[in-house]
Amino acid sequence: MSLHSPVVFTDDPALTSEARARRWPVVSRDGATLRMSGVRQSAPLPEPNMDITAGSLTDVAAGGWKFVLDWVAKYVHRPLLVLEPGSWAGDLGRWAEATRGWGWTEASEVPGKGPSLSGLDSAALAELPAAPEPPSPADRIPGRGRMLLVRHGEWTERQGAWVDAAERIGLLVDIASDRILDGRDRVHVVADLGPANLTLDAGTGPLDPAYALALARAVDSGDPTLGAAGHWQVALEHWFKPRPDDFDVVVLAGPPVGFFGFGAFASRHWYARVVIDHATHAPWPADETAALLLKDWEQGWHLAADAVTVADEPTLGQVAPSGPDATVEVADGARMETLLQVLSDHSFTAM
């Protein structure tokens, strides 16, 4: 557990009153200036909204947003940013978490009334749960293979089926997840901070130019990195790169599919076999250009996979194949077991 000091970012009078009643500082916009209650010094507002995808962390604006966080840090000890849903400062919160380890949370939206702090504890200091202890390194154990299941969003029965299949054949299973999973062991909780994931290796300064340019191009083309879990791959690599884990098989369970590029990393970093599993598959967009783009991305992900599986026959026809010899198959529990058995087997047999 760690104690954080809530600071509310809002221009809403009602929310401001609630915050003041709790003696929480309030940061509000006053034209091109940010003001904090009880603080004489103001801070210039670099842009009306902080939007990493739109370039808020490029060189020009990044310095301004850094100043804002430095200014908050000067007056608030270990801040917990409390934001309105859809706040102009949403990316600021994510960036603060990615680069400074601050907490951030959202006020609730009360139908007919607007944002409210009612869902949040009113104590002067907020206790944030400590980050879950990361699993110990997945060392090699003679005779026992290791599998990593990578999944995002709500836990599903199919994801459970992959874990069960792996355990039935004696694989030790780690799970990489964007959230805590109750009742599951060896879970690597890797937060998905959206485009703020791209700042994980950048320090508190501007975004890496490569990522900044890629974001700009993504906006132009509408590529899937802008969709669900689109930048989570970067967070996953940032998490696993320094760790001495060793996985034989990595199963990427979708949807969402935005992180499927992690398969190439798994293949390169661990020499792992990669399974891409589509529990369901969204229909391709009606717009032909958009559809071609998404199919191209999916084909690229599948090129790094050793197996591509789906849950049922209808989904089979929707998935983009990666080559003339590539197969996509329906995998149920029994087939999952067989597939994992084959993929995790390193033995060589001479003919």
């Binding site: 890496d208 490569a210 990522y211 340019l213 890629a214 191009r217 791959q233 970067v234 690599e237 590029g261 190439a264 990393f265 293949s267 390169r268 020499y271 191209d296 084909q299 690229g300 090129l303 790094a304 080559g323 003339p324 010899d325 390193h346 033995s347 060589f348 001479a350 003919m351």
Partner: protein, 389 residues
């Protein structure tokens, strides 16, 4: 001053267009020069047009032993093609750029043109997904995607044109290219690269020679998979008997030093960084019983073929086109991208030296039958004759 294109306008047995050709100080595309040399040895008279983007001077001829080379700037390509067409020569093009494909299609009567694809030219770059890490790919993805688009757009009408001969080095390469371009290729030939069994002369390996192991590989990019073999050797180092092996690692490239770091410490492993000439390679293969030829992608596997031709017992991976060029009788083929399986394969040989003579013989015979002169240069000479008719 005479027009450098005058010589092109004369009739030749062939005019070969190459986007890169080894001459003078320039290396690379040795496999193209090998062909020119072979055509010359068969009595054909031809010229080479090198339109490398590195060429900055205007067209000038350079004498070479096998065929004169005309170096031109890329913007002179159209003129050079027109001159060659005027001479009535057969036109051969190796690894043409998308612009070159368009120019050749527009200017050359299809029945006189053959185009060779060796690998990258009509292949989705993501088939070699391990070659770039995420950060690098993020930075250059738009360039790579643009290259995909340009290449496939140029190749599609070419594939559809039944008059122009398209030469691939393997059926796998053709299949992958057709998928990536999105259209079946008409009028194709599958002609592998020639493996010179005079240079890589077969010697039957005997039991005992399995302990002399060679890893001779480029470490320029991840797809050459030198890291797999090195990691496999490191795994083998934990087995009894490893110190009885004599292991040579020779290669060069950006990944070399990092890849070999863990095995340099072993007394029985000799690590040398550097380029090897053909003669040096042949000598190295001859001096060893086993050649490790790991790979993550190959359209043929010329180094594998050279090692097999020399009679070395090879350990490679059954990925991409490799299964077209070897089999379990001629090589050990542990699954791809798996240092553990590769290590098991190495140790299988150590434990079964009796297989050495049979595998050695099978390997050399297979290469002779599949990639010997008749099946490669011979077919190309016939093709050139057809184009000249």
């Amino acid at each position: 001053m005479s027009d450098p294109f005058d010589q092109l306008r004369a009739r030749h047995d062939f005019v070969l267009f190459a986007v890169t050709y080894p001459h003078g100080w320039r290396t690379g595309s040795e496999f193209v020069r090998q062909r020119v040399r072979a055509y010359a040895a068969a009595g054909l008279e031809g010229v080479v047009v090198d339109y490398s983007p590195l060429n900055v001077e205007s067209a000038r001829w350079q004498p070479e032993d096998d065929a004169p080379v005309l170096s031109i700037r890329a913007d002179q390509l159209a003129s050079a093609i027109d001159a060659a067409v005027a001479g009535g020569s057969a036109l051969l093009a190796h690894s043409p750029t998308p612009v070159a494909i368009d120019e050749l299609r527009a200017r050359v009567p299809g029945g006189r043109l053959a185009i060779w694809f060796h690998g990258y030219e009509v292949r989705d770059y993501r088939r070699l997904h391990g070659n770039t890490d995420t950060h690098t790919l993020t930075a250059i993805r738009h360039i790579r995607d643009g290259q995909n688009r340009d290449r496939f757009k140029a190749a599609a009408p070419l594939f559809a044109d039944p008059a122009i001969t398209k030469v691939f080095v393997s059926a796998t390469q053709r299949r992958h290219s057709e998928f990536d371009v999105g259209i079946p290729a008409t009028n194709t030939r599958i002609i592998p690269n020639f493996i010179d069994d005079d240079t890589y002369r077969a010697r039957v390996r005997q039991p005992g020679e399995e302990r002399r192991i060679l890893l001779l590989r480029s470490f320029a990019t991840h797809n050459y998979a030198g890291d797999i073999a090195v990691k496999a050797l490191d795994l083998c180092s934990r087995r009894d008997g490893f110190s009885d092996l004599a292991i040579t690692i020779r290669g060069y490239g950006a990944l070399f030093r990092e890849a070999v770091a863990d095995v340099r410490r072993f007394d029985n492993v000799t690590v040398t960084e550097g380029f090897s000439s053909t003669a040096q390679m042949a000598a190295l293969y001859d001096a060893h019983g086993v050649a490790l030829v790991p790979t993550r992608y190959d359209t043929q596997g010329v180094m594998l073929g050279e090692a097999m031709a020399s009679g070395a017992v090879t350990i490679t991976n059954p990925v991409a086109a490799i299964p077209e060029f070897t089999d379990a009788k001629s090589s050990l083929v542990p699954r791809g991208n798996d240092p553990r399986a590769f290590a098991d394969a190495i140790w299988h040989l150590i434990g079964h030296p009796e297989v050495m003579p049979k595998m050695s013989t099978a390997a050399a015979e297979r290469v002779r039958a599949q990639c010997g002169r008749d099946q490669t240069i011979g077919l190309e000479l016939e093709l050139i004759k057809e184009l000249s008719a």
